[in-house]
Symmetry: C2
Subunit: 227 residues, 2 copies
């Protein structure tokens, strides 16, 4: 991205931009790279390196935990316009855990190189606070997911998931396989299939070409709200 | 606490102290209160109010999630000298989740009133930076616990718990009931009892007066490290 274009973009995205000196503004822009990822490609985590700051231009990213045995639990997702600092543990020393990120569709990002970001954060407490606030919002996501996993029965969790997907995409058809849903929910495909079969028997969903069609929104919502 | 004593204490604890103006220093001190909690008493969460910043002087605090049905999962613990901002969601807007805190023994704290802390954070980007960093470190704790709960088998989790307690207290006797251990681990008493019976049968622990005595440290460690 040309320097001028970068400065225009960053002055809109970053509330701390005007508080940076000229050198730091240029440092961030000169160390921003375009990155394209194919659907399913790993963006962060597999090589244990510090990716840096991620700005999603197009597409979507799944952030997950991975066990030694290969079990995955999705903790958050990023969409176009989102910024993420969880892949920047070399920038924020208080992050001492590892997450993985994969592209869930063809995805384009700007990546701000870790060392450049670290240098700017060191010069500007405003830049650092911006990054920390982003991490804390993500923390709130994780706590929500954790409460879901720990406390809710699976029928309610699945109802919430389908309802959220419906609201997010604006479509009553969820274009995902059982296996994909299981991955998002930190569950197993068999468990998802069994519950969807039950939902279908109850007339809440039906299996359609290329996905799951929600046919009784009211009951789905009631289930999600535990009514 | 007299103003002078407070200023002396805070100048040691808070790295941002010298960057505050005189009014903000006084504001923090004048809105600091002494609080004493009996063992088991709720410190934060039950009244859904913003407690503010917590500094533990003596004792210990358990931070946990609570489900609507009353199930608890411990996510972090505070000891003497620790500072916590998770009870200050009125100060840090990016905290959008609720946690509960109970005293696990007779505990003394300084509480910095939420609105005063919020005002100082608004004036000083350095004070905000300190609070955010504390929250992010706590996030790292939570991620560790989450990985434990999601991915580890229960024998290994219990071994890690006993090993950590042994290291922390410097004693091979863990002075806790099965019920207390279950609460810390987000598990059920029956599950803990069953596993401890197995550990005893294997000669790793024995039940002693007032607690669980670790008699084979090497095997406990091997279990904890999955060797």
């Amino acid at each position: 991205m040309p320097l001028q274009e970068c400065e225009k973009l960053y002055s809109k995205i970053f509330p701390f931009w005007d508080k940076l000196n000229r050198e730091d503004q240029e440092l961030l822009c000169l160390h921003t790279s375009d990155a394209k990822y194919a659907k399913g490609e790993n963006i962060h985590g597999s090589n244990r390196e510090c990716t840096g700051g991620i700005l999603v231009r197009k597409g979507s990213i799944r952030i997950y935990l991975l066990s030694e045995e290969g079990k995955e639990v999705t903790i958050s997702r990023l969409y176009s316009g989102d910024t993420c600092m969880l892949g920047a543990s070399c920038v924020l020393k208080s992050i001492t855990f590892d997450v993985f990120m994969d592209a869930t569709e063809d995805t384009e990002c700007y990546i701000i190189d870790g060392p450049a970001l670290a240098a700017v954060n060191k010069h500007s407490v405003y830049a650092e606070n911006y990054a920390l606030n982003i991490v804390v919002s993500r923390f709130s996501d994780v706590m929500w997911i954790m409460q879901q996993i720990l406390f809710l029965s699976f029928d309610r969790r699945l109802a919430i998931f389908l309802h959220d997907e419906m609201s997010r995409t604006g479509s009553t058809t969820i274009h995902m396989t059982h296996d994909q849903i299981a991955k998002y929910m930190g569950s197993a495909r068999e468990v998802v299939s069994r519950m969807l079969k039950y939902f279908a028997a109850e007339g809440i969903v039906e299996h359609s070409r290329g996905g799951i069609k929600i046919i009784d929104k009211k009951r789905l919502q009631a289930l999600a709200l535990n009514q």
